[in-house]
Symmetry: C2
Subunit: 274 residues, 2 copies
């Protein structure tokens, strides 16, 4: 494919095939992206961003603490022990409580709740053993591991359990991580449960994502078993779903038909419910 | 500026100004960078990289430990104390030793030397006080702060001092950081001293950078005072400078004149010295 410039100042009539610097394919003026200068600048920017990522990754690796959770590694200068309420791994329910060795400095640094516990010389702090109720040993291990490494490999249930722990001990970074993970797995089947869960544990991002998914599927909502249960158990949450749906309807209608902005909210609600 | 396509398959004669999607300026076919598709892909990639950077930055912030080095903050569950040989800040040379509170778990995690010291129950470990010789209190503080936060704000001299500490306690991440910092400040005036320093402390990257700078300025080398001192003190290092220079000459000549590859190294050396 060839192009000719109609600019009198330059040597006219030169056939020039424009090839993309990136994919090397020829393209027409209508498919033009960037000029050469901006392409080169963008390439440099990309290289810089990649270098920054490498730097940050090496910093994360440096700052990670080995959490001494490996069963064969000795607890390294540990000054506190955590024990889950069930006291054992899910696989060995009858075994005696398995302690998770940790360090007050690390726990206090990651969680204001642990910090207060240790600084106020509460009973748990003095005894050196903290019992964590309503949590399995596996979840406790995953929780402590995150505090040391900022890493987790949760399955679906573990993500919910870790979010509860993060909320309880005010570990914002872990809570955000869990919300992101659960949102990535959100679907129509788990949206109502996730919505109620998000409400219970103040997970704002998850709440918004679940609510948006529910609002997109309102025609199927009332047929769901979880819906009936929620109406029974916590009708205020159901009201909020309808309010979010209504707001969305009003918004969409206003975008589609700006002249009809004077219609009342009630009109939209009735129209949407038809 | 307008262009017309000479492609018969399309509607011919349409004037189309090609504008860069990035700088919005018109450009000619000869200045073409990317096609639209690749531009959009690159923009997405950049957005993704920026998101990854944000994620990593928040991870670094989460993993940082407050180092309890602030004079007004109480040492938080510290189990070990470090004392610099000079025992005081540079500003208060007559003051008694100022202890730097730390945690064995953190020091052992960052430095295999500290780990061995604590695990082998050496005297320093048992007493709970580790004397660090040949270092000022300020450098010790900066060193410990880096172990907790992966952050430093060194001036020129501090970077050299921290590199020595990093080498002594085998903290690779800090050593790499210091090398990078010193390389960024490298110039003809400090190149010979940096070269000798890099040799002494096995700083490979700094060594290469200093050597390359010296080899680019060989005509001025022998006139420098530091050169005379180095010949006196450690002539092997001077030999290595000449060897590096020679290798560079051979390389450059081979690139310039591939036919003359048969000339011996000695010929080049003589020619270069002329």
């Amino acid at each position: 494919m060839s192009f000719s410039r109609f600019d009198d100042d330059d040597a006219g009539g030169i056939d020039e095939a424009m090839c993309c610097f990136s994919c090397r394919e020829p393209y027409a003026p209508g498919d033009a992206g960037t000029c050469k200068e901006c392409y080169e600048e963008a390439s440099e920017t990309e290289e810089e961003l990649k270098r920054e990522i490498d730097d940050l990754k090496s910093k994360v690796a440096f700052l990670r603490l080995s959490s001494s959770l490996h069963p064969f590694s000795p607890p390294c200068f540990s000054d506190v022990v955590l024990v889950a309420a069930d006291g054992a791994s899910d696989q060995t329910d009858l075994a005696p409580p398995v302690p998770v060795h940790a360090h007050k400095a690390v726990l206090a640094n990651r969680s204001p709740v642990f910090r207060a516990m240790f600084e106020n010389q509460m009973e748990e702090s003095l005894s050196g053993t903290i019992k964590i109720s309503d949590v399995s040993h596996d979840v406790l291990c995953a929780f402590v591991n995150y505090l040391y490494t900022a890493e987790a490999c949760p399955d679906d249930q573990m993500a919910y359990d870790l979010l509860v722990m993060a909320e309880k001990y005010q570990v914002k970074h872990l809570k955000a991580y869990c919300e992101k993970f659960i949102i990535s797995k959100l679907n129509w089947d788990n949206s109502l449960l996730s919505y109620a869960f998000a409400h219970q544990h103040n997970a704002k991002h998850l709440l918004d994502a679940a609510l948006s998914l529910i609002a997109d599927n309102m025609d199927k909502l009332t047929k769901r078993e979880e819906y009936m249960e929620l109406v029974e158990k916590d009708p205020r949450l159901v009201v909020e779903i309808y309010e979010a749906y209504l707001a969305k309807q009003v918004n969409t209608a206003a975008h589609k038909d700006p002249l009809q902005n004077n219609r009342s909210h009630r009109d939209y609600f009735i129209a949407a419910a038809d």
